[in-house]
Amino acid sequence: MEERTRNLFKELLSSGSGKVGIAFIIALIIISLGVIIIYPPDFGLKYWSNPVLWADNPRAAPPAWTNLFSSYNQAETVIFETNIPTERIPGVSITKVLYTFNLNHKADEPPSFISMTVGNIKYNNRPPVLIVNIERPDGNKIELYRLIVPGPLPNEVTPFARFSETPFRIQLSGNHEVVSAVSNFLKQEFDVSISNQDLLLSGVDIAVFGTPQDDGKFDVLMGVYKIQVDAFLYNEDDSIGSVKFVAGGSVHGFMGTDTLGRDLSIGLLFGFPVALFIGLVASSITTVIGTSLGIISGYIGGKTDTSIQRAADIFTNIPLLPILIFLSFIVGPNLFIIILILIIFSWPGLTILIRSMVLQIRSGQLVESSITLGASRLRIMLRHIFPQTAPFVFAQMIFFTPSAILAEAALSFLGLGDPSLPTWGQILEYGFRNGGIYVGYWWWILPPGILIVITAMTFVLIALGMEPIINPRLKRGH
């Protein structure tokens, strides 16, 4: 056995496709291990499907590097987050705490939105007040927004804690207060009057980050914007936990985002271990069942053989995909059930093949002499028959792996994926169902598909590298 199996690997490493395949699978395993170590185990439900976490990302934004191929420079998301104030000015009864962020805006368009998030505010008597100012490169200053922290409730005891569990996020761009502030600013500085409603519709960002032109449009004003958040605290012991300011872009990260603002690169990375898990678990269990039944069927013969073969006949003839769809629809989207169904319907092919091999091996001298020596049936099957089929079995296992991965991807694409484990198929499905192909969200549609293909291809390449040893007749032709 050792000899034949060793030959298999030697052959595999001597072929070009085998080498590429092995290199790929090593890369896949390394990435998967990394993901398993870094990602939290409840990533799917708690992080990926939690829209709050992605609120500060632009929606359906292409990758940032697309700017390299275009003369029009799109804005990238800029995030400022700090828990240390830039300056603290103690006063008699008021302590002023300043947070200053310098936003260097170089894009040919305004940010897609601006937002502020504050967290963990503690105060003792009067609620603190936060004021957001923005100083433009042309020297003009706009007071955008004023946040008065909610006052104490009856019977509440000091210190009053606010926004400590979930930080408070203000979408400045869509805020009525901001809109009227910007509208006033335009009136005063540029003598341009735009109604609040129109400004809300066109977005305040073009006005905050631009100068009005004669034709009623705005030109983007590039340069450094000084964003200042002034907090007024009315007690020595009052404190502000964190302040976050985001200028949303229209391009994002290495892989872009989906319509919920989720960073696709994060979801796609999570797909690696899931895909490998599906492929390897389904194929190894299928192979074990298929091989054992095949050997038993071929070696024991008689009624056992007939019944196994009849069952195999029936199972191979049931069209897999409709049944798979039906079962996962009824039983509910669960990855383990999908894998189980794949196994139930996949063992027969291997059983039929192995049985025909065993029929040949059984009449060989090795087996006959073992019987004469009084070896038990189990021993013969395990020690003498299985080793002769081993290389073939191994190749079949490799060959089945991509089918399992592709089957899960197809199911996910039909909307039957397991929501607790985001897969490439699910990301694709979400993109497809949101009309991604009709609007041209290529960064959302292409990468998951490419990753599915690469992973499936890895196993196909390895299988291809093993082919000459599995099917020696083909080799003679070369």
Binding site: N317, F413, I445, N471
Partner: protein, 348 residues
Amino acid sequence: MGAARLLAIKGVTLFGVLLVSLLLVIVVLGATGVSDRMMGSIVNEEVRELRQSLAITIRDPIELERVVLAEREQLVEFYGLDNPWYTRLPDMVWRILRLDLGSARTLKSFSGSTRVSDIVLERLPNTVILVTTALAISSVLGLYIGVKLATRVGTTLDRGVSYISAASYALPSWWVGIIFIMILSFQFHIFPFGGITSAPVPSGFLNRTFDIMWHATLPIITLTLASVGSWAYVVRTMVLNTAQEDFVTVARAKGLPENKIMNRHIIRVAAPPIVTNLVLGLTASFGGAILTETVFNWPGMGRLYYDAIFALDENVIVALTFIFTLLYVGARFILEVLYILLDPRVRY
């Protein structure tokens, strides 16, 4: 073994397949309580209608409730909901085997009927157009390419095509379809995004036919691409295996011309396993059609399946699972007959 006996055995096995998959579907529906829910919703619907019509004649609300309740009990008994699900099993199997598929809950046929058989009959031809055309094209192409490759084993062409066919195994056809739409429909506007006809439907038989063909092109190319690679590879391998048999060497030694050896000796013998692979290709096509039709919004059975899943229309799902199996088993039986006709060794 006689041919008739052989066919009979195959027929029985395939009928077993049909029965097993049907039982599987029904048992799963019953054991998970979905079947009870389905029946329950039918009863509720009928009771609701009854209450509405009775409310006109019976004014007294207490009397109305009493009558409705009595009717409800009758209905529950009629549908067998008062007994556990497995007592309904034989009836249900028999009903579906007679193709009495019941009616859909939410889905409707294009003409407005809710009978599942009406809906399916409308969709069936659309799927058949797609699957059979794609299968015909890919088998012809596959045979041609496969035989070509077998005569040029080891050349760059051979190796190249082998790699491409291996690659096509790893390519999900539905994703290829999506790429086609993005490039050919979205970017270059050559083909429509999906559907089977333009809106409004062009008048005149010829125009309509062309319109459908135009809409079918991308799905057919997608389905063909998905299968042609593995198809060519299988043909190549089969032909190659046969070409190394002794009788081919003998034929060559006799000095027969190469094309005669190929047609008379090799292909004739390699045909039956190739036909077997046609069967396997057929499964892939039917399965693939579910995905391809979904991608291309093609109003066939596959798209219906997808719609039924999202409309939670259990009756349609059961019916379609059965029909997919039926279609597959039927095609399989036809191919078994072909197999016997092709291979004289099977007959004797």
